[in-house]
Point group: C2
Chain length 268, copies 2
Amino acid sequence: MTGRDLTTITGKTRVLAILADPIGHVKAPPGINAIAIRRARDAVMVPFQVAPEHLVAFAVSLRTLKSFDGGIVTVPHKGAMAGICDEISSRARMMGAVNVIRREDDGRLVGDMLDGVGFVAGLGSKGISVEGKRVYLVGAGGAASAIAFALVEASIAHLTLANRTSDKAQDLCDRIRSHAPDASVSVGTTDPAGHDIVINGTSLGMKPGDPLPLDAAGLAPGMIVAEVIMEPETTPLLAAAGEKGCRTHPGKPMLEQQLELMASFFKL
Amino acid sequence: MTGRDLTTITGKTRVLAILADPIGHVKAPPGINAIAIRRARDAVMVPFQVAPEHLVAFAVSLRTLKSFDGGIVTVPHKGAMAGICDEISSRARMMGAVNVIRREDDGRLVGDMLDGVGFVAGLGSKGISVEGKRVYLVGAGGAASAIAFALVEASIAHLTLANRTSDKAQDLCDRIRSHAPDASVSVGTTDPAGHDIVINGTSLGMKPGDPLPLDAAGLAPGMIVAEVIMEPETTPLLAAAGEKGCRTHPGKPMLEQQLELMASFFKL
């Protein structure tokens, strides 16, 4: 995955960036740079820390930065950047957010949102197809919303949305219906019984002592239980699911697959 | 000099840039990145290609790019950037140009011009002091002007300026006198006789068939003859000087020393 020294960067090297504020914690640059090396592309991702109040002006300048090919957009810029881009995908429009931008040769910035498709691709990388499945998803925040839209795009049989604050689940349900009137989607309870795939799209499980995001009594052998959480790798939910005889799917493949999708979006 | 992979770039890595248009030919990034590695600093230089008409707006955005520490400024931006910086050194003001900028923590851009001091430091790196010397300099363009100002700052005994278009040499002479009224400086002929150090500050010698920049008959044993030209390493002038028993000094140490000065200016 590695094998290219910083001293190989020249005037011809294409620049990629990750936009965030704060930025010290971001994880993507090593992964994207490893992909660039593996794909033998002369490009490098570096951190661009810009405060929210300067994002609009900064994006104007990115249009004029001819050596810039694109970037990852993360907290707190995902929503604002969706409004700044010259063109965004329909799924980014549904989400009102982008997590990648690409600079076209004419300077236009094109945005997309790969959080959800990255999750679905992560399942696919482990041989799990969502097509035709009954899926239970906990959460109604940014990650869960992106996954919900991606699942509906991926032709699942039914999507059940659950959330501690059920109003938010209902709101997400309504948004999905307004964009995909034919989608089979409903608001459920904490009980995941009767589904093929169960997904935690909340942050419950990151901190020691977090309650489970759902009622584990409803888990049954044959179910696939998947996480968005990457740390710890085995969350209490995945541990409980393993004990119940479910197949478990940790959060890391989502990141790996999303990095590949991002690299392809940048035309790496 | 090397030994750091692109995959070691993280959200904490500081960004340096070289600003140019076109940019594919620039030589500095590998040298600056080698210095960063040697100094064990987590920083990387990448190319920023920006057209002249977008430079002012782009520089405004550089002030807001919190992960940016500074950059090299080269053709065609040296003059314009001098006017854009919030603060420039007195030698940059004399030149009306900068070749480096640094971003302070508060976002202010500070500029300096290291072309001339880099040349003087290059001589120094080979044990050649200019202090108290009679120096003959051919050329009146950007490189020669920077060297002229740096020589005057370095307490030489006398500076003789020569140029094919003698009006330009006179103009440079007048500019030096207006900034340094006590400087001993005059306009000379093509004959370098009577000087301790002879410097070619023109591009004559880069292309096969170029005439010599001065009358080699005036060269004598004991003189030091120095070049700004890096390619070829041994120019026709240096070859002629060697035959005359002069000590010769090629262009490369200027670049090497200037990269060190630039790195220190960026606080690498």
